[in-house]
C-alpha cells in the first residue's frame, strides 16, 4: 500500500513513457522528436532517454521474446516506477491500405501460442483500433483483417506487470499491405511514415499522460512518510500500519504536517498509536462528506 498524495516536494525525475521498438529505424524519429540521448549502448538492448521530458526508449530487435526481454531490461536498468506507461511502437503489415495509417491494437494474439492480450484503455477519439497478430515469420499473405507484427505479443506478456494493463499500449503504423509489399520498406520510408504521425502521437501521449499522472498521485508516498521510515526502524507490519494510519490522519487533518522533531524519542509503535488516537478523537464529530 503506497497510496498518498502529499508529494509536492518530491523532485525525483520520473519516466512517464517507456517505448519499446524493434528497429532502430522505428526508434530514430522518436529519439529525435523527444530529444532522447543514449544512456546504454554496451548491452544487447540500446537505451535512450530524456528524463526531463519523461521519455525512455529501448530497441529490442525483431521477435516477441526480444521485445519482452528488452522491456524488462529497460524497466530494471532505469528502475522505472510503477505508474509509467509502456508503449510498443512500430510498423506493421495490414490487410488494407493506405500505408502510413496509425492504429491502436485492442487485441493482440500470439499466433505461436494462441495467447490473447487486450492492452490499454481505448483511445478511440484519437485513433482507430484493430486486432493485431504477432507472427514468428514475416507475413506476406495478409489473410486476415488484422495488423501483423513480430513483437507485440511478447511485449504484452510482460509490460502489464510493470505498471498495469491500462498503461500498456501497442501502437502501429501501417507499412505494408497486399498492394504495398514489405520488400519496399526502407529506413527512409519508416522514418517518413512515423514523422507524418508525430502530431497524432503527441495527442495520444497527452491522453495517456493524464492516466499516468492519476496513477502517480495514487501510488506516491509522501515525503513525510519517507522521512519517518528513514528515521525509524519500522517492521514490515508496522510500516503498513503507519502508512495506513498516516493516510487517514492526513485526510482528517489535511493542513497539518507530521513533525519529526515531536517524535525524536519515540518508538514506531508510539508514533502509530499517537496518530490512531488523533484520528479516533477526530471521529467523535465525524463529517463523512
Amino acid at each position: 500500500m503506497s497510496e498518498f498524495t502529499d508529494v509536492e516536494n518530491n523532485t525525483e525525475l520520473q519516466f512517464k513513457f517507456c517505448w519499446v521498438t524493434a528497429l532502430r529505424a522505428e526508434a530514430t524519429p522518436l529519439i529525435d522528436a523527444f530529444n532522447m540521448k543514449i544512456v546504454e549502448n554496451k548491452s544487447l538492448f540500446p537505451i535512450y532517454a530524456n528524463e526531463e521530458k519523461g521519455h525512455a526508449l529501448v530497441i529490442s530487435g525483431i521477435g516477441s521474446i526480444k521485445s519482452a526481454a528488452a522491456a524488462t531490461f529497460l524497466k530494471n536498468h532505469l528502475k522505472i516506477n510503477d505508474h509509467s506507461a509502456w508503449i510498443n511502437f512500430g510498423i506493421a503489415g495490414f490487410f488494407k491500405g493506405p500505408i502510413g495509417d496509425i492504429y491502436q491494437a485492442n487485441k493482440v494474439v500470439s499466433k505461436e501460442s494462441g495467447a490473447a492480450f487486450f492492452p490499454g484503455l481505448r483511445l478511440s477519439k484519437l485513433i482507430p483500433a484493430a486486432i493485431l497478430f504477432t507472427v514468428s515469420k514475416p507475413e506476406n499473405g495478409y489473410k486476415e483483417k488484422v495488423l501483423y507484427d513480430m513483437e507485440a505479443a511478447g511485449f504484452c506478456e510482460m509490460a502489464p506487470s510493470f505498471s498495469c494493463n491500462e498503461l500498456t499500449y501497442v501502437i502501429k503504423i501501417v507499412s505494408d499491405t497486399p498492394s504495398a509489399s514489405s520488400s519496399l520498406i526502407t529506413k527512409h520510408l519508416v522514418r517518413e511514415l512515423i514523422e507524418k504521425q508525430l502530431s497524432k502521437i503527441s495527442d495520444i501521449l497527452a491522453e495517456i499522460e493524464i492516466l499516468v499522472e492519476e496513477e502517480k498521485k495514487r501510488l506516491s508516498i509522501p515525503n513525510e512518510v519517507i522521512e519517518f521510515e528513514k528515521r525509524f526502524k519500522f517492521t514490515e507490519t508496522n510500516k503498513y500500519k503507519f502508512r495506513e494510519i498516516y493516510r487517514k490522519w492526513k485526510i482528517a487533518f489535511p493542513s497539518k504536517r507530521l513533525d519529526l522533531s515531536e517524535f525524536l524519542n519515540s518508538q514506531p509503535k508510539e508514533i502509530i498509536l499517537r496518530l490512531e488516537k488523533e484520528v479516533l478523537l477526530n471521529a467523535e464529530d465525524w463529517n463523512a462528506l
Binding site: 485492442n106 478511440s124 502489464p160 494493463n165 465525524w286 462528506l289
Partner: protein, 330 residues
C-alpha cells in the same frame, strides 16, 4: 458511451447481441473465445478501466441461480439471486464489485433464456412455496436496461408465476420499460438510497436522490410495489437529521400501501475488499474513518451500528408497520 464490444463468437447471432448491435452501430466489435480471457486477466487497473469500460457479451454456462447468503433476505422463505451482468455503470465508492473483480468492464450474459429455465426449475423444485429471486447482485438491475432489455424479458417471464417474487434492485431511473406495462404484483422495484449529500459524495455517476425519489413515486403511482433499501448506512456527525429528512422526503406523497418492504444494512467490508477499495479511493473520507475489524470484517463497530439500527427502526416505524422492516446483516 460504449466504444468497444468484445463478444464471444458463440453468441454473435443471439437476439440480445443483435439488439445491442442495432443500439450501438458505431462501436468496435472484437471477437473473443470466452469472456474470462479478458475479464480475469492479471494486472488490470479497476480505477483506470472505469474511465472507459468496454462491454463484453458472453454466454453463461452454469450457476445461473444461487441461494442468497444468510442475512440478505427479507425473511424465512427461500430466496435466490441471479446476475445477468457483472459490473455496473455507476461507481459507488463503497461498491463491493471493485473489490470482487479485477476488471471494470461490463459483462452481459446474453442468454437470458437459460436464467429463466433455471429459475423455472427452482420453482418446480419448491412447488407451492413462495420463492423470491433477487436480480442486481453483481450489477444494478436497471441501469443498463435500455441496452440490455433484460427487465422486460424478466417481467414477461415472471408474469407467468404470480406466486414467485422478483426483486429488481437499482439506483437507476431507467424505468420506462416498467411504466410501459401493467404493474406486476409479484415484482418489487427496490431502490437503494442514502441522504442526498451522502449520495452526492459516494454514489458517483448514479442518479441523484431526488431523481430516484421521483422514479419511486412514478412507479408507485403506476401500481408497482416498492422496496426501500438503506444499505449501506453511512455514519456522519448529523446522520440522524439526514436520514430523518430522507425518510420524510420519500414518504411525502407516497402511499405506504405501495411499499413492499424496507431494509437497511450497516457498512461492512471483508478486510481484503476494504483494503482494495481504500487503495482505489485514497483521498475519500469514507476510507479515513477509524473502522473496526472483527473476524476479518471491517465496520463502524457495534456501538455505531447499534445506534444506527435503533434509530432507523424507530424512525421508520413512524411511516410503516414493523413487519415490513428488515435489517440486512451482510
Amino acid at each position: 458511451m460504449i466504444e468497444t464490444i468484445f463478444f464471444e463468437e458463440e453468441i454473435y447471432e443471439h437476439p440480445t447481441t443483435e439488439r445491442i448491435r442495432r443500439a450501438l452501430p458505431r462501436a468496435g466489435w472484437v471477437p473473443i473465445d470466452r469472456y474470462q480471457e479478458l475479464f480475469n486477466k492479471r494486472h488490470q487497473n479497476f480505477k483506470l478501466q472505469k474511465k472507459n469500460p468496454a462491454l463484453i457479451l458472453a454466454k453463461k454456462h452454469d450457476n445461473f441461480v444461487l441461494p442468497v447468503p444468510s442475512g440478505f433476505g427479507m425473511d424465512s422463505h427461500k430466496s435466490f439471486y441471479f446476475s445477468h451482468m457483472y459490473n455496473c455503470l455507476y461507481d459507488c465508492k463503497y461498491c463491493f464489485l471493485q473489490g470482487m473483480y479485477s476488471s471494470a468492464n461490463f459483462v452481459l450474459f446474453v442468454n437470458y433464456e437459460d436464467f429463466f429455465t433455471s429459475i423455472s426449475e427452482k420453482i418446480d423444485k419448491y412447488n407451492g412455496k413462495t420463492l423470491t429471486f433477487f436480480s442486481g447482485y453483481d450489477c444494478d438491475s436497471l441501469a443498463f436496461d435500455k441496452l440490455s432489455g433484460f427487465a422486460d424479458e424478466a417481467l414477461n417471464f415472471f408474469s407467468d408465476f404470480p406466486n414467485t417474487e422478483l426483486e429488481l434492485r437499482t439506483k437507476s431511473i431507467a424505468i420506462s420499460s416498467l411504466l410501459q406495462r401493467r404493474a406486476l404484483s409479484n415484482c418489487i422495484v427496490a431502490f437503494s438510497l442514502s441522504p442526498a449529500e451522502i449520495a452526492k459524495s459516494l454514489d458517483s455517476k448514479a442518479p441523484s436522490i431526488s431523481r430516484r425519489i421521483s422514479a419511486i413515486k412514478q412507479l408507485a403511482g403506476a401500481g408497482w410495489k416498492i422496496g426501500l433499501r438503506f444499505d449501506p448506512l453511512i455514519y456522519t456527525s448529523d446522520w440522524k437529521e439526514l436520514y430523518s429528512a430522507l425518510f420524510a422526503d420519500i414518504m411525502n406523497g407516497l402511499d405506504p400501501e405501495r411499499i413492499h418492504s424496507i431494509s437497511y444494512g450497516p457498512l461492512r467490508f471483508p478486510k481484503k475488499m476494504y483494503k482494495k477499495a481504500a487503495s482505489l479511493h485514497t483521498e475519500h473520507k469514507l476510507f479515513a474513518f477509524p473502522m473496526e475489524e472483527t473476524n476479518g470484517v471491517v465496520s463502524y463497530g457495534t456501538k455505531i451500528e447499534t445506534q444506527m439500527h435503533d434509530f432507523l427502526k424507530s424512525e421508520l416505524n413512524n411511516y410503516i408497520s414493523e413487519n415490513k422492516i428488515f435489517q440486512c446483516t451482510i
